[in-house]
């Protein structure tokens, strides 16, 4: 199943570039394809660490990686403001989904996300599973609650219907399916898990659901060991037309729908 198992002997550290990426980019398999392309092009060894956005940024702050690719705009900007990153380069986006049981017990199908959340809160019957892990997805969920006019602490204590799972996207989806609850998910993870889930998309429109992935190279002024040149190479690579096109087509064959929209040239409004 691997395109590159034979070239596994480790290279000396100076030829390695370390990337911390958010889980959804990794789990969707996108990096699995990009990695060998980049390595071949630049004759470098890419080490890809996947983690939640919070941890990926922590890797960056500690100087353990050279570049991060994540999806949490507010924290990304903070990261740069703190001087850890050089600049934020968006390279792909897609939309979050609210998924739930096909019978739609709360009757939120077709609503805007903030209206859907309002209804969930008001009826207080249909369960909702939250990532609860400060991930990018969780941050997005909090945004929606705020947009809907609720204080997040009030939501957390609203009742047994609001379940804080505290795990990754996959397990959260599995739990929502088991409990026949709603949840907020990125489209990539939802598609990979779809076969195992008794959940359908109920809300998939609304600018609030926008999910932008960007790359940030580590600031060599703060982290002298950071390999800024090669990191810039990777950023250039990501936003190069061929790769942008590749990203746009990635997964269509397998899932029958687009996973990521290329950012360059088709920036979301």
């Amino acid at each position: 199943s691997s395109p590159r198992a034979e070239s596994s002997s480790p290279l000396p550290p100076q030829l390695r570039l370390r990337v911390a990426t958010t889980t959804s980019l990794y789990d969707s398999g996108l990096w699995g394809y990009l990695e060998p392309m980049f390595e071949r092009k630049y004759n470098v060894e890419l080490d890809i660490m996947y983690a939640g956005s919070g941890k990926a940024l922590e890797y960056g702050r500690r100087g353990d990686v050279d570049i991060v690719t994540i999806h949490d705009q507010i924290r990304e900007e903070q990261f740069i403001a703190d001087g850890y990153g050089v600049r934020r380069v968006p390279f792909a986006y897609n939309y979050f989904l609210i998924v739930g049981p096909s019978v739609d017990p709360a009757g939120i199908k077709g609503l805007t996300p903030e209206a859907a959340f309002k209804k969930l809160m008001e009826t207080g019957k249909a369960s909702f599973v939250s990532r609860g892990d400060d991930s990018g997805t969780h941050a997005k969920e909090k945004d929606i609650w705020a947009e809907a006019g609720y204080d997040y602490e009030a939501v957390r204590n609203a009742g047994r219907w609001y379940i804080e799972a505290g795990t990754g996207m996959g397990p959260t989806l599995m739990m929502a399916s088991e409990k026949q609850a709603y949840t907020l998910t990125d489209i990539g993870t939802y598609l990979t898990y779809k076969g195992k889930l008794a959940l359908v998309p109920v809300v998939d429109k609304g600018s609030l659901l926008l999910n932008v992935y960007s790359a940030i190279a580590l600031n060599p002024e703060k982290m002298p060991q950071a390999k800024i040149d090669m990191a810039n190479n990777l950023i250039e690579f990501l936003i190069s037309p061929e790769i942008q096109e590749f990203i746009g087509n990635y997964g269509i064959e397998e899932y029958g729908t687009q996973l990521f929209t290329p950012y360059v040239g088709s920036e979301p409004e």
Binding site: G52, T167, G168
Partner: protein, 228 residues
Amino acid sequence: MTEIWHGLTKAIGLIISLDPEVTEIAGRSLMISLTSTLLTSLICLPLGSLIHFKQFPGKRLVISLIQTFFGIPTVAIGLFVFILFSRAGPLGGLNLLFTPAVMVLGQMILITPLLLGLTIAALSGVDKVIPDTARSLGASGFQMTIIVLREARFAVMATVIMGFGRAISEVGIALIVGGNIRGFTRVITTAISLETAKGDLELSLALGIILIFIALIVNILLNRLQPR
């Protein structure tokens, strides 16, 4: 290294202030792991003794298999139990997935080979004359088992403590079958993994230190139980 000191002071702070959330999580960890250890001990100490004392064909193989299952990854057990209890699974009707009960079960599966294997090892050290003496004085098979376990009490107690340690420190099962639901199935290890995912290394370390603290107290209490 500052994180480690911060973690330490944070742990002490959380313990002293009896932080309600931490207290609740720690209490749950303790309850679940004590229950699983106790139940598994009740099964495995006698069963291990039986395997030790009985001669039967394939005994060596059975022991090898038990020892092999020392090395089963928690995720595999977690998945297995998950599949068993999931809606589509054979025991889905029990509605036990994402409850503490099923976490206990998962931990029991995890530590069963451990307790069996170590019970057998503990008994292997006891002089053969001890069981003979017990039997010659009229002990039934069960009574003989009791006295031999008593003679090997140090090693038996180490076995139980070891099982508890394994249970309370594992995270794979708790995460997969418990789901780390706040206020219901969140235990210390799943909380640690959550805080790590969030990048809050200090809080993670603090929770780890609290876990060790709990283990120490349980250990001391269990050692008190041990007859001199």
